[in-house]
Symmetry: C2
Subunit: 641 residues, 2 copies
């Protein structure tokens, strides 16, 4: 990954023609002259359509049988006759293919013609071809024929042409998505099959637009007809179209296609006006926020969650996370507020703070700054188990902290301090809150804390929501094994759509007075850190194919000082945590009006903790889809204690 390149978010802009050029070279030259990066043109001439029917004409029988036996183009049937410019050409397959015709001969001939065109595209080395708009009703045979045909393509991709709004007879708004969805599920989510999404003058509701963010939209077609003239007669896009185009540019980085306008559609338009406008929008995307700048190049990239208890973090990981501008600010504020509450002004009392999991010391710095600001005396213990980080702590003590800070090299679960503290500060949180074993570590550490002491954080809550993402599903499916479908991933979401805002699953609060602190260094068991939650989501406005579950956390550090990666309450600019993604083994359909129930467990035994999860889709009280429980007994994924 080269993050800097992607930061520009530049989308190639091409031009699409539906005319049939006798000399397509002229069109390509003119398009290029007008500043387009590529062109899309029909591959074959309408005369080629004769193959649909001609086998019924007896006179031509022999020739047809010959064609059916080994399809070959008549040179005059082709618009794209050679590989010249093939690097900047997208081929459009014949509009008249009728793969779901009731007429068997038309079906069979359409499939032969499809294969013939794809073979030609592949021979020319075209990078992409556009498959014409899907039929409105049955498309099973279309799916089978496409799925079979793309199997023989080595690098040519297929873009399925979809109109974003094509209300069906019953006024269902998401008809085009449903047809696309059915196609790609029938085709086992084949990664060679993408979408060329065409904007229409009327856009569907925002909910329906959102669903496309989870789809492999490789091209966005913005026809000249959806542009409106500005006061000077130049073509511009209406507001909602602008917003949507920008969102798609930002999230999906598609190729963008404008079309050849009818004469005088916009008074002042030149052949380059449309592409120039698109590039203008592209250059003026909203600035990336801190989180997205940090994440550039890592969007939708699956990472295994950290195992900080079993593995020691390396220096660069510390380095990266210490740069978070928000997290330490919030910790400092929390400690500051706790100090104010804990000790009277001008008191001579020294407040004892223990920072457990001190790493290279940023939380110690927070505490020292808070102490200065609050004008309270503190004595700080910095407890760290990583021998490498401990060297940095020694340097800091020697050079900065001096005797305000006492260093302890120990695992907080095992250390036996000689005195107890007033404030216990830790940052042991993972993307799902408890997934880096903060509960277990603090169970061990809370014996350092006075009975009326304060834990920062005070609590943390895990959140989950049903998620669609063709990209993430295919990333996991590529491993072709069960283990990867039963493992959660830390991932910066980009090409996704959530069914609804996420809901809270469970909370851990510290100190945990309901569970006795044991003096043994091994607690008897960890059953009090088991959690189970069931949450239910209603598919009110959307249908979706659910590919997995999005996970987040929120944490109360102290009173109303919080940190959150939950989208609705995300701490602005805090980049230390990406969300977490729990896949499901087989995508399930969530039709509009259905409910999704998620079951989530945090399980534990003496050596590890793990999650199990399952989803059930119900409609009108009936189960319409049930997934198996994933990761039974932690068989595929666990975090070591």
């Amino acid at each position: 990954m080269d993050p800097t390149v992607d930061q520009f978010r530049a989308c190639p802009v091409g031009i699409l023609t539906t005319d049939y050029y006798d000399n397509v070279g002229t069109f390509i030259d003119e398009a290029s002259e007008a500043g387009h990066d590529f062109v899309a043109t029909p591959m074959a001439h309408p005369t080629f359509r004769r193959v649909l029917h001609e086998d019924k004409k007896e006179k031509n029988k022999a020739a047809v049988d010959l064609w059916r036996d080994g399809p070959v183009f008549d040179r005059q049937d082709l618009i794209l006759q050679s590989a010249a410019c093939s690097d900047i050409v997208v081929g459009m397959l014949a509009e008249w293919l009728q793969l779901d015709s009731q007429d068997e001969d038309i079906r069979v001939n359409s499939e032969l013609a499809l294969k013939q065109e794809l073979a030609w595209a592949s021979h020319l080395g075209l990078l992409s071809v556009i498959f014409p708009k899907l039929p409105k009703g049955n498309l099973s045979n279309t799916a089978r024929a496409i799925n079979h045909a793309v199997g023989s393509l080595s690098f040519t991709q297929l873009w399925t042409h979809v109109l974003i709004n094509e209300p069906d007879d019953e006024g269902v708004e998401n008809g085009p998505w449903k047809q696309w969805n059915k196609l790609r599920v029938l085709c086992e989510q084949n990664t060679k099959i993408h979408v060329a999404l065409e904007l229409t003058q009327d856009l569907p509701s925002d909910d329906i637009l959102d669903v496309w963010m989870a789809e492999p939209v490789k091209a966005l077609i913005v026809p000249a007809e959806v542009f409106i003239p500005n006061t000077k007669g130049f073509p511009v896009l209406p507001k909602r179209h602008q917003e949507f185009v920008k969102k798609v540019m930002d999230k999906l980085r598609p190729n963008i296609l404008v079309t050849v306008p009818p004469t005088q559609l916009h008074a002042s338009a030149t052949p380059s006006s449309y592409q120039e406008y698109i590039r203008h929008l592209n250059r003026n995307l909203p600035e990336l926020d801190a989180v997205n700048q940090f994440a550039t190049g890592y969007q939708d990239y699956l990472q295994a969650p950290l195992q900080p208890l079993m593995d020691n973090l390396d220096n660069s990981t510390y380095e990266t996370f210490e740069k978070d501008p928000i997290k330490y600010q919030q910790y400092e504020e929390a400690v500051y507020r706790a100090l104010l509450d804990r000790t009277e002004p001008d008191s001579n009392v020294t407040t004892v703070i223990m920072v457990v999991g001190a790493g290279r010391g940023p939380l110690v710095d927070c505490c020292l700054r808070a102490s200065t600001k609050a004008e309270r005396k503190v004595h700080i213990y910095a407890v760290e188990k990583n021998p490498n980080a401990y060297v940095t702590l020694q340097n800091k003590k020697e050079n900065e902290w001096l005797d305000k800070v006492e260093l302890v090299f120990a695992d907080m679960r095992r250390w036996k301090p000689s005195k107890k503290c007033d404030i216990l500060v830790s940052e042991l949180l993972g993307s799902f809150g408890d997934n880096e074993l903060s509960p277990e570590c603090l169970d061990g550490a809370q014996k350092f804390l006075k009975d009326d002491g304060i834990s920062i954080p005070a609590n943390y809550t895990s959140f989950a929501a049903p998620l669609a993402s063709t990209k993430l599903y295919n990333e996991v499916a590529a491993y072709k094994d069960l283990e990867h479908f039963e493992t959660p991933y830390v991932v910066m979401f980009q090409q996704i759509c959530e069914l609804n805002p996420s809901q809270p699953l469970w909370t851990f609060a510290h100190p945990n007075h309901t569970h006795p602190t044991t003096d043994d260094h091994d607690p008897i068991n960890n059953l009090h850190n088991i959690r189970y939650s069931q949450v239910k989501f209603a598919a009110v406005e959307k249908s979706m194919t659910m590919h997995g579950i999005a996970g987040y956390f929120e944490s109360v550090l102290y009173k109303d000082v919080t940190i959150s990666i939950h989208p609705e309450t995300h701490s602005p600019g805090m980049f230390s945590w990406f969300p977490i993604f729990f896949p499901i083994r087989n995508p399930v359909q969530v039709p509009q009006g259905a409910h999704v129930t998620l079951d989530f467990w945090r399980q534990t035994d003496k050596k590890k903790i793990w999650y199990e999860w399952a989803a059930t889709v119900t409609k009108d009280g009936q189960d319409i889809a049930i997934t198996p429980i994933h990761n039974v007994g932690g068989r595929s994924y666990w975090v070591g204690l």
Copy 2:
């Protein structure tokens, strides 16, 4: 397999007690004395129930923590205290387990108690334990706990107790099945989890009863209360119960459990009356018909379909199929009728018959018998490509047929006869009709036939129906690969349930005058033998988990002389073909009120034919489940030309 043993269809009969015996040995002895094969008894005493709550009593805290850390039985809590008789004991798990309680402590303690009881059952070497009735609402945590717990059992199986009729508040009749279904899908159809199905006084509708035929019912509980007294005061079962028990005995071979009756429930009953009655039913199952006698030992056993074109059949295969009492009778009748229609009585004309794929000659015999009966002169050509069968043909010609029959050693697709025939007789049919390439073979052979000649068979039609079968699904899933989920199997169905009667997909008719007969020995292409069909089924009375598709054929030999393996029209006694089973990769839910659409393709290229298939479930016009298209391009299964 030892087919003779299974032909008796004997089911073990045991007795179930819900009482808690201080000395269970007495109960076991008495049960054995009264003629029972095994007993089912609670494993633990109700006192054990205290573990659900006692951790909340502070005084007992330490003991409880100890129990939670390493659960151990107090000897007095156990009914089954030793492994004595463990080979004839089924253990019943505590009724009070509340794995889906709202109370977290009760949930956690229930799971510990479950694991503890299962570990004890495993230690004792019990073959089976009965899990108590499922909760009516949420059962996710029950599923997770069971699924996890049975993972540690080596050979002990779990039977889930299900009442066959337990109308819920909304009067839904199949509530118990739905709960069981949800459990087993959440548990990924774990093969250690079975059903102990208990009959109730009111039985649900026949449709609901049918659904259980597809489930792993390992025990059938027939409580004393469902027996009625006959005129002499002895317990007998009402008619519908009798029928159902016999059907279950026949199809599922379960263990049967009667229960200890309340005193004087049936005036003349002795401790052995109930089991004696059950054994009486068991001994008086309807006689196996010819097909089932033939199939004994092969029920639900997956076989790869024959490839008679690529492979030569062996002698025993011929031997087996030649014993079919019906098939040859129908062929003889068809040839007889054709001869009567073809030639005037007392005519001197010799009718030329060609038997293509003559094998060891049974169809030649049919033709000769038909000729005698019809009093028509015939001359028969017997064409066979299998050099080994051809030796038998030579023997038969030498010893029986003499010059009435002329032998031809050739592949019918290549042979060039010197004259044409009046009647072309073939039997090249597979379980799905065309799956042994009859269409392609007869395409080659029809050039032997006069323009007005007769083909026997005249046509054949393939049928399909959505099917539930836990057994067949698990057989296929055991291979743990995609190939086996994309391969059809020839299988004698037993533990299955069809959603609806099967529907016709497509027909091949011979001779095929619409397609030209070519003189080349290789036809130009085989596109005219491509087929595609879409059929739709309504789930009117049933919900089911669909595991695959049942396939059958019907064939018109001549006019109204037919053969069929389609259940509704099955030729009585004909055993030459078992049905065919097309699996699907992931079982899909078909709720009541939904529709299942099946897409089926017969595809071909120059070297092979294959099938592709997909299923879509819709409800209220929305897609609620879509399978991928199976066997794309014949990647997993094909029949060689």
